[in-house]
């Protein structure tokens, strides 16, 4: 092994942090933490053979360096080659992100008011192939699910997520069988928590109560997304709000239902007019490199960025309020108990 050169596979991306780094394995949607010195070796010392790397870091570190490479081989993050020019056979993957659609994701919230869903879907149809998340914050609109089901049937809506209260008493099995585009159903306020597949859909039952859009934006490890599309979108755009349009429970058109700014009501405004405005699009471009703290965090390209709830409410580039991770210590703590977040929590009236 010592005379060989390493080749990091193109779908394995390195992301550094202040205390540790991560290898993102895109094809397998998994990741490994690595020490920062290994990040340095993989990103800077690729022209050296393993022997050359040992010489660079000193013979006293030989055992560790060989151990690092054994680990990388075992995980299949690298290949070894005795000819450094073979690296040209393994070009990197582009980190650009493009979509042919004007809009790719949509949130529609419901409480006690129905929206002109046929008109909305009709308009979305001309804007792109979209993922729609329908979120129900009360149990008064059971019939609306049937209306939605009928409305999407004829269109190229890509996929659907549903967030519904347990008290809505929906027949999940029947629903996901009838509508193959439903890929995710979350039933909150359930008696016990569980997660499992029913047909094509992941059905999650949780005991939590999700009573309003204020419950959105929590940064949790279980919500991390690890795939190439998300990685590239995060590098170039805001990974939550890019190409997103939302309709809040009152029919107001917004970037995100939790934002205070409305661009008009769906009853009398066209989505296509709204999404064309510069002001509406401005948040799409806020990528992770501009966000305070996140810009150095090793999770930054797998973690959703929330722009609605921020640690410093008046600063649009401030870290997501609902994140309890500190990249400088590598520790997770309960964000809501952090005294430094108290003012922001009160500002957004969260509890």
């Amino acid at each position: 092994m010592k005379n060989n050169y390493f080749i990091l596979l193109a779908d394995c991306k390195l992301v550094d942090g202040p205390t540790r780094s991560i290898i993102y394995d895109m094809s397998r949607s998994s990741y490994s933490f690595i020490p920062n010195v290994l990040y340095e070796i993989l990103s800077e010392d690729y022209a050296l053979s393993i022997n050359g790397i040992v010489n660079k870091y000193g013979l006293e570190n030989e055992q560790f360096i060989l151990e690092y490479f054994e680990f990388l081989l075992e995980k299949e993050y690298i290949l070894l080659s005795d000819n450094p020019s073979e690296r040209m056979w393994f070009p990197g993957i582009s980190e650009d992100w493009e979509s042919p659609y004007e809009i790719t994701n949509v949130i529609i919230d419901y409480r006690d008011k129905v929206h002109p869903i046929k008109k909305i879907i009709d308009e979305l149809e001309s804007l792109g192939s979209v993922h729609i998340e329908f979120r129900f914050f009360s149990d008064v609109l059971l019939d609306e699910l049937i209306v939605i089901n009928e409305a999407v049937a004829e269109y190229r809506v890509n996929s659907i997520s549903l967030l519904v209260p347990h008290s809505l008493k929906i027949n999940v099995e029947q629903l996901v069988k009838e509508n193959k585009r439903i890929k995710h159903v979350e039933i909150y306020g359930s008696e016990e928590s569980s997660a499992g597949m029913i047909e094509q859909a992941l059905v999650v039952r949780s005991e939590d109560m999700i009573t309003s859009n204020k419950c959105c934006g929590a940064i949790l490890k279980k919500n991390f997304n690890l795939n190439l599309a998300f990685f590239n979108e995060s590098k170039n755009y805001n990974n939550c709000l890019n190409k997103k349009v939302s309709i809040d429970e009152n029919g107001e058109i917004k970037n995100c239902p939790s934002f205070s700014d409305s661009f008009g009501n769906i009853e009398d405004k066209l989505l296509s007019d709204v999404i064309e405005t510069e002001t509406f699009r401005s948040v799409w471009a806020i990528d992770k490199s501009q966000i305070d703290t996140c810009q150095t965090c090793e999770f930054r390209y797998m973690c959703m960025d929330c722009r609605a709830y921020r640690e410093t409410p008046e600063d649009v580039y401030s870290k997501p309020l609902k994140c309890g991770y500190d990249p400088n210590t590598g520790e997770w703590k309960e964000w809501s108990r952090n005294p430094l977040k108290k003012t922001a929590i009160e500002h957004f009236n969260l509890f």
């Binding site: 540790r20 397998r28 949607s29 933490f33 560790f64 680990f71 997304n225 590598g330």
Partner: protein
Amino acid sequence: MKSIKEFIENNKKDLPVYFSYATFKKPAPIGKDLPETKSRFYRTLQFMPTKFYKKISQSAPITPTNEK
């Protein structure tokens, strides 16, 4: 320098319980690798421009075995 085994052990608690449904569809238990459905050859080749693929396949016939 630190041993990688020790490093991984110290960082184990931060591995996710499962990734989002959008990525995985199925929860994966802590510390367990996801089902490996892609062989190393497959993984190496899938991102490779066709001309390189041809070059390699001429020199070493590829018989992917464990991809599903």
